[in-house]
Structures are given as C-alpha cells and as structure tokens.
Amino acid sequence: MSDAPKGFPLPSSLKVVPGTEAAQAAYPYYTQFVPEDDERFWFYNSMHFPEPMHHFDMITAEAAYCALGAFNTRVHVLPTAKGIDHRIINGRVYIGGVAVTDPDEIAERVGEFQQRAFYYYENWETLYDQWKVKMKALIADAQALPVPTLPDYEPLETTHTGKGIAANHDLLKIYQQQVEGYHRMWHHHFEFLLLGYGAYMTFFDFCKKAFPEISDQAISRMVAGMEAEIFRPDEEVKRLARRAVELGVDAHFIDNADIDTVLADLDKVGSGGKEWLAELETSRNPWFNVSSGDGFYHYHRSWNDDLSMPFAALPGYIEKIKAGTNIERPTAQLIEEREALVADYRELLDTDEDKATYDQLIGLAHRVFPYVEGHKFYCEHWYTNLFFNKIREFGRLLLKHGFFGPDGVEEDVFHLTQFELESAIIDLMLAWSIGIDGRGPTYWPPIVAQRKAAIAEWALHDTPPALGNVPDAIDDPAINMLWGITRENLDKWLDDGSENDKELKGFAACSGVVEGTARIVKSVQEIGRLQQGDILVCQVTNPTWSPIFQKISAAVSDIGGSMSHMAIVAREYGLPAVVGTGKATSRIKDGQRIRVDGGRGVVTILDDEPVSEQPVLEEA
C-alpha cells in the first residue's frame, strides 16, 4: 500500500535472540538499546560491520565514533550535525546521527566551522604532509611495542640496573598503549575525512544542478585520483607476476596451490626462485599490509598474514602476461581521460560565471581527494591489522597461561571485550606476582564458548536495515557522505520487494550490461569459489579485492555509494557494477543467473525459481 505510513520496526520491538542474552549483556552498558531510543532513527551499519561483532571488535566502533564525533561536534564544529551514536543488538551495530536544529546554535556553529574547517582547506597540503609523518610515526610506535612476556624470574639486569619495575607491570602498560594508539589512529583518520568528502560533495552538488541527469559515476571519475596508495598492492601483485615470468618460475603459480609448498619449492629451484622470494619480501613491506576485508574485524587478515589473495590473483596475471596482454594500469591514459572528462563537461556550461565556479570546485575536490583515497591504507589497513595482531600477542600469552582452557586458541581473546581483556591481563599479572594460577583458566573458557555460540547464532538471523520512524530529511552530512544514506534510498529500502521481487536497485557504479552466474561471497575466505566470468555478489568490498576483479564479469554489493571502493575499482577495470542494493546477498541465491546493468544500477534475477525459497528471517 503506497499511502500507508511507512516505518521500520522500533528498537524496543527488536528482541535478543533466545539463548544469547548473556552474550548480549556483555557488550558495554552504553551500547545497549534503552526505551528512549524508540524516539530516534537508527540504521544498521552494515557497510562497516556487516557481520555479528566479536566483543573485542566493538573497540573499532567505539574508537571510530569517539573520534568522528569529536571532530564533527567539537573540533571542526559541523554546523548542522554532531556525532554518531551507536548501539548493538544481536551482534549488529546500529548508528544514529545527532542533528543540530536550533537556528541560533547552527549560526554559532557556522562561525566556528569557518574559522576551523576553512583553515584546513586553506592549508590542506601542508597539514596532509604533516599527517603522513604523524601516521607513520604512530605505526612505528605500535610496531615497536614489545611482545608481552612473563619470565619465570626477572632478568638479573632488572635488579642490577635498579629498574624497579617488574615484567607484569609492562603487560598493563603495553595493553593500554595499544588501546591508546588505536584510539589515536581513529582521531587521525577523521582529522580530514569529513572535510575531504564535503569538498567532493560540493562539486557533486554543483554538477547535479548543472547536469540534472549526470551519473554519480561520471562525477566520481572526474574527481578520482590516480596515484592513491590503495591501488599499490594490486600493482605489486602484477609486478610479482611479471617477475615470475622474467625469472622463469611462473610454472609454480597455479590455481588453488598450497602456498607454503610453492614458497618452499621456490626456495629450492635455484637463483630464480630465491630472487622471486626476495621480490615478494619487497612487496610485502609495506604494501601487503593491506587487509583482505575492510580492516574492521580482527579476522580481516592482511595479505602479509594470509597470502591467499595475492596468490589467487597471480596465475591469472601470469597467464595474461604470457599471452601478451597488457596488465599495466594505464595511469597516463587514465589521467588523460579524466582531464578530458572535466574539460568536456566544462564546455557544456553556459556562462563564464558557472565555468569559474566549476573550476574552483573541481580544483578543491582534486586538492582534497588524495587524502580521501589514501588514508585507508594507513588507517583501516596497516594500523588496524597491526593493532589486532598486537592483541593476538596477548591472546597467545593468555592461552599459554591456560586462560582459554586446554582446547583454546589465541583467537579466543577476541571474545572478550576490551575491558574484560584488561581485567584478564590484571588477573594474570596478579597470578604471576602471587605465584599461583589465576582465576582466568576456570572463568573464561565457558564464557568464550557461550559467545562463540552466540555469534554463530546471530549470523543466522537477518536484521532490519533501519529502526524507528524515518525522519523527513536526513541533513547530516556525515551520514549522507560516509554511508550514502538519504531519505530517497531509505524509501527504496522500505519499498524493497513490494514492486518486483526479481529486481534490485542500487547505485550505478560502472556501466555495462552483463548476464552471468551469481556467486555470493560473504567473506574473503570464500573467494576461491569464484570461477572465471562469475558475477561477484557480496556485502561490501574494498580495493584489496581488486586482484580478483580480473576474474569476474560484474560486481554487486549490498552497501556502498558511487565513491565506495568497489565503485572506484570497478571503474578502473571497466567492470559493470551496482553497489548499495541493500539486500543483494540475501535476495540473490548462489548460482542463480542474474543480469547486472551497471549504467542504470539495476540487478535482475533471471532464474524462475521463486526467491521466497530463501529463508526470510526478519519479521519486520
């Protein structure tokens, strides 16, 4: 019924899945829904957190929203919006904006904003150079944190140097420094981000007014940078493919090979193999510090942790090189195309005034964009991966001291909240100092088991894309820019399925029409299932998936806007793509034939079998 009032379920109507109450209660009190939350509008942050959250991983949400909110509310002082609030239920993170509506307060904030944000824009390059220095130093600090250890006896030098501090104290210090560093990284992350997106959106807005029917992707292509760090890992894989051919060791790279065996064989086959292994090391530092996921979960390992992604891509690249196909990224050509695009649209403007404004805005967008594209490598990939690996060191130590029981693994540490982990560390510090076993070995194993079960259970349940009544307008620039959420696409979510259950609409990310077999890939562990020519259907991708873009014929995602990384990479590869469909991974079944129209942003399910066979769990 089109004229019935539409809304999403209220937060209070969302029930904790039976049997998981204890796991739900263990999330921090300030992230639990309360009755007053029914008054507000929330949406599921499936872009950043598409899977149920391990308790430790909530630190990513917490640190990110601490920093995002601080910059929006109090550092740059965005006039119409404060920070982003978050809640968690059944492992799913919901977020809500805080709009400023009082005109006097907005006016006051406009004054503050202009003194602050404008300073950033005016000094962008200097501040960004400074940012990179800061960020690299932060990474170096985190790398330098010692591995936490508890010796049976303190080394003699502790006594002889009069150090006066024992090893157990370092545990707390290291842990707190890790947490402090992670929070600091997220502050750096948001130092420029909203301002960068804002400058981009200003140009975007102008283009939409000047050219009402321009596609988002055309604007994105005008702004896209060419030298962003995020393309580099894929470039390194291509380089390694080229070197493998040059060194005559390409025969070692075949689909689904055991990576350890390949590496061991290369070490044995003479100078060519060894030289290639040395090239691999060069690529790994730092470029393989790129996460195979979006870097927000502890199990999004980097290429350095798990070489599956580059090794899945190598055989394809090698084959292409041997066939004489050029696999180089045509940077000069891409730049030329971008400049031509900018000039051609400019030519269509009627007046010199409009041309002058256009020049100003594209100039500003080009200035800020290197940050928007480049920061992810340092923040979400390199630092985040480093941080989780550092936490693993505590996992290993606690495991060794029996905290996860005889069948435990170091990964169990991620089932503890950050506060519980600190308490476990203090428990261990006490036990070591007292000279007895800690309480942890009996206390934690059942809790870890319970949470494992809860996460597995939660993953079986869909969750509504939003909660509460839809506001008339969503004026929060952060929510518009970072999540691509507007009033229009909320209406689309509400309409979803009521018109045509064979068709999904999303953002047109890269044009072209392709029909093929849908392959639902829910995590990076499943990428091996992709066959040449398949259509990738996933919740969200990021540029580290780009090496497999050579294998697929089109891409579809649940989440993302025209500037999402999937969209950027798809355009680089000329791969038809539709992003931000909301529900592609739940509506499309693995193996179904689908048609992707990347120019219109439409995905059509071609198979006749009823889509309702898909278990529909949401009761909304």
Binding site: A117, F118, S215, L361, S511
Partner: protein, 347 residues
C-alpha cells in the same frame, strides 16, 4: 542545369532563402561530412516560376492577403480552390525537366525517394505553418515525384498555414517553399534524437527514441518508441525504456508506406543495440559541435546498420530558458563559500 535544382553538396544553412531550412540543413550536414541520404532541393526559384504562371492565370497572393483568418469557412473554400489550382496548373517545362532529370541522376538504380517540404522562414518551421502533410515517402517514379513536389507547394495553402500567416500578418510576397527530394532509406529502425534532455534540459545527455521500420511511425506518434538516455560525454546508458512496439511502417509495394502489425519478440526487442546507440551519440555530438548548439535530430538506420540523418534543427524549448537562466551557484571569490552548501544545512 537550371537554378530550379540545388544538390545537397552545394548548399548550406546560409542558403535557407532559396533551399529552405530543411534543405539548407541537409546540405550543411552533407558538407560537414555527416551521412545523410543523398538528394537535391527543388529551390524557391522553381516555386516562384510556378507561382508566376499561376498568378498569370488568376491572382493567388492577393486572395490570401484578403483572407479573414477568423472566417474558417472562407479559409476552407480558398484552400480548396488554391490547392486544386496548384494541382492542375502545368509545371513550367524547364522546372519539370530539371527536377525529373535530377531524380534520374539521383536514382540511376530506380530507387525510390522521399519528398519533403522545406520552408524558408524561421517561424515557418512551426508545424502550424508547414502543416503535417508535407512529407511523402517511398515515391517511386520521377513523374510521381513531380506530383508530390506540387503537393508540397499546395500545402502552403492549407487552412492552418494560411490562417497562421494572416494572424502573424506575414506578407505573402515573402512566402515561398523549397522541396527536398532525397533517396529513401529503407530503414531497419528509425527515430529521433535530442542532444539534451527534453525533460530537464540537461546538456550532458542525449535522449534517443526509436522503433522498427520507417521513422514516420515515431514522428507521427503511431508507435510508442523505445527510449534511451545516453551520456553525451561518457557514453553511459542510464535509461532503457523498451516499449511494446505493436507495429512498424514499411514501404508499400506500389509506393508510399503501409503499417504492418508486429508479433512476438519483435515487439519487445530493443530496436537499437548498445553499439548502435553509441554510434548515434557520436553523430549527435558531431552535429551539435558543428552547429554549436543542441539539436533535434531525425535519424534512420539502414539495413546495413549504418546511421543516416534525415534532419537536424536547433532545439528550441530549453534554449529559450537558457537565455534567462541564473548562475547555478552565486559566483564567489572564495571557493570555500560553496562548501557551506553542504555543511551549512540544505534548504
């Protein structure tokens, strides 16, 4: 050769007074290297010669000038009378032989032609002036062609045309008509193309409409055409509205056209492929660049799939609005002021 005939390759838009808007435009396109079906124009001087002979027998122009545009009965009677005279008056010999000779040259292989009126004044392009019955398709013989030329001339004396001129107080001495004679394209599909959006005026897109068979089905509105929106610069196809095309117009065996019902997949299959859409876009851009302003184009694809233009004229609706348009954003010395559009809260 007589000045009654001018070949496309020899005329341009500046020749409008003698070859009309359509003839001048087809000449201009030919000269710009854009594929149009070859042809010639029966110039206004041929018309003038004919009218002179007509006037010698009995006045024409003074009768039209004396017409009360609000007296529909009188206009109808005058129209019937003048059109009958146009049909019955023999064509001056040198004109008739020149145009028939031109057609034999144009269609040495006996191919048919289209005969279309080509008015000489700007406001004459208004449909209310030129009337709709001024295009004759699939004309097979030089004799028939000459007859259709005469009918085009006669359309100047349609009720709508005459009353329009009277309401505008347009001097009859300035009224003349050229006629385009052009090799007929046996179109696989045909339609129209605007080099800006007819709905939003956006100059960055090209709207293409088309259906199977001759373009007459689209232009006359007999068939709902397929419709696409293509990025002028990017080539992205952002809209694909494929319609149910119930019929197409095709050449009739004895000349003229006939409507054929379509069945099955033909009705819902898009009449253009993506490659063909992009080829049309290329041509549209080329024409727009040539004229320096957005165009309203009629096109056809021949049986080989090659694009041919049948007509191009400046888009008029949005260009009027453009002239009155305000800047998209108020100009400011500091680009950062624009950023407030995003951060300052939207209206």
């Amino acid at each position: 050769m007589s000045d009654a005939v001018a070949w496309f390759a020899d005329v341009g838009i500046a020749d409008r007074p003698t070859v009309g808007g359509k003839g001048g435009s087809l000449g201009e396109l030919t000269q710009a290297g854009i594929a149009v079906p070859p042809g010639f124009v029966v110039t206004t001087s041929a018309f003038e010669g004919f009218l002179e002979a007509l006037e010698a027998r009995e006045p024409v122009r003074t009768k039209v000038e004396a017409l009360d545009p609000h007296d529909l009965g009188a206009a109808t009677r005058l129209s019937e009378q003048l059109r009958a005279r146009v049909m019955n008056e023999p064509m001056p010999g040198h004109v008739e032989s020149a145009i028939m000779q031109a057609m034999r040259e144009l269609c040495a292989d006996g191919q048919p032609v289209a005969v279309r009126s080509s008015a000489t004044t700007e406001d004459a392009e208004d449909a209310s002036f030129a009337g709709l019955q001024d295009t004759f398709l699939w004309v097979l013989t030089p004799e028939d062609m000459a007859l259709k030329v005469r009918e085009c001339w006669g359309s100047l004396y349609s009720v709508e045309s005459m009353t329009y001129r009277r309401k505008q107080d347009f001097p009859e001495s300035g009224v003349a008509m050229a006629v385009v004679v052009q090799r007929m394209v046996d179109a696989m599909c045909a339609g129209v193309m605007f080099t800006r959006s007819p709905t939003t005026g956006d100059k960055s897109v090209i709207t293409i409409e088309g259906a199977w068979g001759l373009g007459s089905a689209v232009v006359s509105g007999e068939v709902t055409p397929d419709r696409w929106v293509v990025g002028k610069i990017t080539g992205d196809i952002s809209v694909r509205d494929i319609s149910d095309k119930h019929a197409k117009q095709v050449p009739a065996p004895g000349g003229g056209i006939v409507e054929v019902e379509l069945e099955g997949a033909d009705r819902t299959t898009p009449c253009l492929t993506d490659e063909q859409l992009l080829a049309l876009r290329e041509v549209g851009r080329k024409v727009e660049r040539h004229y320096g302003k957005p165009q309203d184009i009629e096109w056809a694809l021949d049986k080989a799939g090659d694009v041919l233009l049948l007509q191009s004229r400046p888009e008029t609706v949005w260009s009027v609005k453009d002239a009155a348009a305000k800047p998209i954003a108020d100009p400011t010395a500091n680009p950062l002021a624009h950023v407030m559009n995003i951060f300052g809260g939207r209206k």
